[in-house]
């Protein structure tokens, strides 16, 4: 029970520490540094109010700075240096990048990632839109949504096991327990296929796993957006003689265009970071490598921090347009 005890202690210390920090720092500010009494009461209150926001923000900013902002720069530095014995490093310019670009595995990972970027957001959004539209029109829609949404709660590793069973292959003289092979043989296949080694189909089979997980997310968001489409515009279109498909594609979809973009970009970010699925199902063999797994290989198997960091920077580079776009939109919204 040692770790469990440690966990309880951490919760107590963590929570108590946080609350204590906030409480006592406020007390210190109001009672000791700038008391709201005496001749300078007014001035002191104003001063305390200038400092207070930073008291509230400090722990969060410290954690964000240390765990997200600092690593971006440190990784950039590492990607430009070579590790020397004794915790030292040496600046080597773009050597790591050059080495990485000369590796076929990197290009394979990059190509696969691009494929993932095309396929997964597109399919997830399309299926999500379909599920949202269909489930909003039937009475048992909420139950249906629940089940399609469910894979969201399942870990990538769990999903990998689930789908490995689906793709499982048994020798020809045995009953197939993977449904794909069972169906394949049922429809006249000669012999069971080890699907995960079939290039290039295997990459797509891995993508299906992520599509299966992300469709629910897309559905939930798009369903809310579809419900936000004013009923009057739909009724007007029906009176104008539009059929259900025209209503959907010409009236509803254009009105939720922005939400579709949001869903698409969010899934794109998930795809760029995808690691567990590939790690668990093929570990990048049979030409299924992706950047995140390539990076993990470099960092923790080959212990090559330079190239590993360089590949992490590539992921960062791919994310940046979305980052800029999001920040731009957030700033616009704040004004």
């Amino acid at each position: 029970m040692h770790p469990a005890f440690q966990a309880v202690l951490t919760i107590a210390v963590g929570v108590g520490g946080c609350v204590g920090y906030f409480y006592f720092s406020n007390q210190l500010l109001d009672r000791v540094l700038f008391p709201d009494k005496g001749i300078h009461a007014g001035r002191n209150i104003t001063r305390a109010n200038i400092i207070r926001p930073w008291l509230f923000l400090f722990p969060a900013l410290a954690a964000l700075g240390l765990y997200l902002a600092y690593p971006v720069f440190e990784t950039l530095r590492l990607s430009l240096s070579e590790r020397l014995p004794g915790n030292k490093s040496q600046y080597v310019g773009f050597d790591n990048y050059q080495q990485m670009f000369s590796e076929p595995k990197f290009w394979e990972a990059l190509t696969n990632n691009m494929l993932w970027l095309l396929v997964v957001p597109a399919l997830s959004t399309a299926f999500g839109l379909l599920a949202a539209q269909l489930s909003d029109r039937v009475r048992w829609g909420n139950i249906a949504k629940s089940f399609i949404f469910m894979p969201m709660a399942i870990s990538f590793v769990g999903a990998a096991v689930i789908w490995k069973l689906v793709y499982d292959t048994r020798p020809i003289d045995q009953e197939q327990i993977g449904v794909v092979n069972a169906v394949y043989l049922f429809f006249g296949g000669d012999q069971p296929i080890t699907w995960l080694t079939q290039i290039p189909a295997n990459s797509f089979l891995l993508m299906i796993v992520l599509v299966w997980i992300q469709t629910g997310f897309a559905m939930v968001i798009l369903s809310a957006a579809l419900r936000g489409v004013p009923e009057e515009t739909i009724e007007a279109a029906i009176i104008d003689g539009a059929n259900p498909f025209q209503v959907f594609f010409k009236i509803k979809v254009p009105q939720i265009k922005n939400t579709i973009v949001v869903v698409w970009t969010t899934i794109t970010i998930v795809v760029l970071k995808v690691f567990d699925i590939v790690f668990a199902m093929t570990n990048g063999q049979w030409e299924t490598q992706v950047l995140a797994n390539y990076m993990y290989d470099k960092l923790f198997r080959a212990q090559d921090w330079g190239v590993g960091s360089a590949s992490a920077m590539i992921i960062m580079l791919l994310v940046s347009p979305i980052l800029v776009w999001n920040v731009y939109n957030a700033r616009k919204e704040m004004q």
């Binding site: 770790p3 089940f147 990538f156 590793v157 689930i162 069973l165 922005n258």
Partner: protein
């Protein structure tokens, strides 16, 4: 919509059918795992799980009781019993005593054995082996039977995966470890984020807009970038690999979403209420604790669910910051990866282990779906 005159019923049916097909397609893989986790090795290898609900024709390898249980009766040595476990309703159609001819005999036939004894097997599995000499050997006679077995499920896999002391890959410990990682990693970021979100939503200070934008930016920074710098840092300051490190890492990585979500929610709270509290004499700290926190409960719940699912399901951060070579601190996701390597074909164990790990998130999911949906809607950057 249904009230509109002249809506074609064929289309309505198409909607119902396509949605049903989609739901089945989405459920099928998970159902496979769930069903498989309740099946025995034999059942799994003899057919797809989708057959498990109907009686199936199976080729079984059974064994009679060992010779030590023989009884001598008027100079005849007899071993009697039933090949199946108690309560089984399997029906044997043909059987044999050698793997080369598993269908040599019908129920009731008498089969000669090498040592001169004979064995008779009935369709319900009752057998009687008799010989005039004492039957020797340590183990019982193997019987190859083709039997129609009714659906049968077992909890043995779960027992083995969770509680078996001898099982080195026990999920029991990993389960506790995962829990140990998850709970502090869920609670602490909420607290830290809530204060920051309040400041960003309701306090006036220079640079506020810039900070909000920065947090939106950090929302998408891939945590892959953080692995090496932070592992180095943890090693330097003496945390090394362990729970403290993984808690801190999860806190750091969870904060942008937490702050973003909570701030968006808090900004939407009525300004009047907060100002009224201010007129009532509440300090910022009191406003936060007594007004904002209780009113933000839905958003706090949303984020708590996200963070819980994310930390529970995480593999990468645990691999990098927690799991060391001793294996004492392994988490469930890591354990499953191990099993995929060492027990690739043993689906009953794999399925059970995987299901143990996804059961808790599924319960959380179905119980608190409302908050999850609300959080998703608030959390996707507009």
């Amino acid at each position: 919509m249904s009230a509109i005159v002249g809506t074609r019923s064929s289309l309505v049916w198409a909607v119902h059918l396509s949605l049903a097909a989609m739901v089945l397609l989405w459920l099928f893989p998970t159902a496979g795992l769930l069903v498989s986790s309740f099946r025995t090795t034999d059942q799994i290898s003899t057919g797809g799980w989708w057959n498990s609900l109907s009686a199936s024709e199976q080729n079984l390898t059974l064994r009679s009781a060992a010779p030590e249980s023989q009884i001598e009766n008027d100079g005849v040595f007899v071993i009697e019993g039933n090949l199946f476990e108690q309560g089984s309703e399997a029906v044997i159609s043909v059987w044999g005593t050698s793997s080369r001819s598993i269908d040599a005999f019908k129920p009731g036939d008498e089969a000669p054995l090498k040592d001169g004894s004979t064995i008779t097997v009935q369709s319900n599995g009752d057998y009687k082996r008799q010989g005039i000499e004492e039957i020797t050997g340590r183990r019982g006679q193997r019987i190859f039977a083709t039997a129609l077995t009714p659906p049968e499920f077992t909890l043995d896999n779960y027992h083995k995966v969770l509680f078996d002391e001898k099982n080195r890959e026990s999920m029991g410990k990993a389960f506790l470890n995962t829990l140990t990682v998850t709970i502090p990693a869920t609670i602490i970021p909420i607290l830290v984020a809530a204060f920051a979100a309040y400041a960003l939503a309701w306090m006036d200070f220079p640079g506020r807009a810039l900070l909000v934008a920065a947090i939106v930016g950090l929302l998408v920074v891939p945590l892959q970038l953080a692995l090496i710098p932070l592992l180095t840092l943890h090693n330097q300051i003496g945390i090394g690999k362990g729970y403290l490190g993984v808690w801190l890492a999860h806190t750091g990585f969870g904060l942008p979403l937490a702050i973003y979500l909570l701030r968006n929610y808090m900004v939407g709270l009525p300004r009047d209420i907060i100002e009224n509290a201010r007129v009532d004499g509440a300090s910022d700290f009191q406003i936060f604790v007594k007004i904002i926190l209780p009113l933000s409960f839905p958003a706090l719940a949303s984020f708590a669910i996200f963070q819980f699912l994310w930390t529970w399901n995480d593999l990468l951060i645990a691999l990098v910051f927690l799991v060391d070579s001793s294996g004492e601190t392994t988490v469930m996701t890591k354990q499953i990866i191990e099993m995929l390597g060492t027990r690739g074909g043993e689906w009953e164990i794999l399925a059970t282990a995987a299901f143990v790990s996804i059961a808790v998130p599924l319960v959380v999911f179905f119980a608190l779906q409302k908050y999850l949906v609300r959080g998703l809607l608030a959390g996707s950057v507009k």
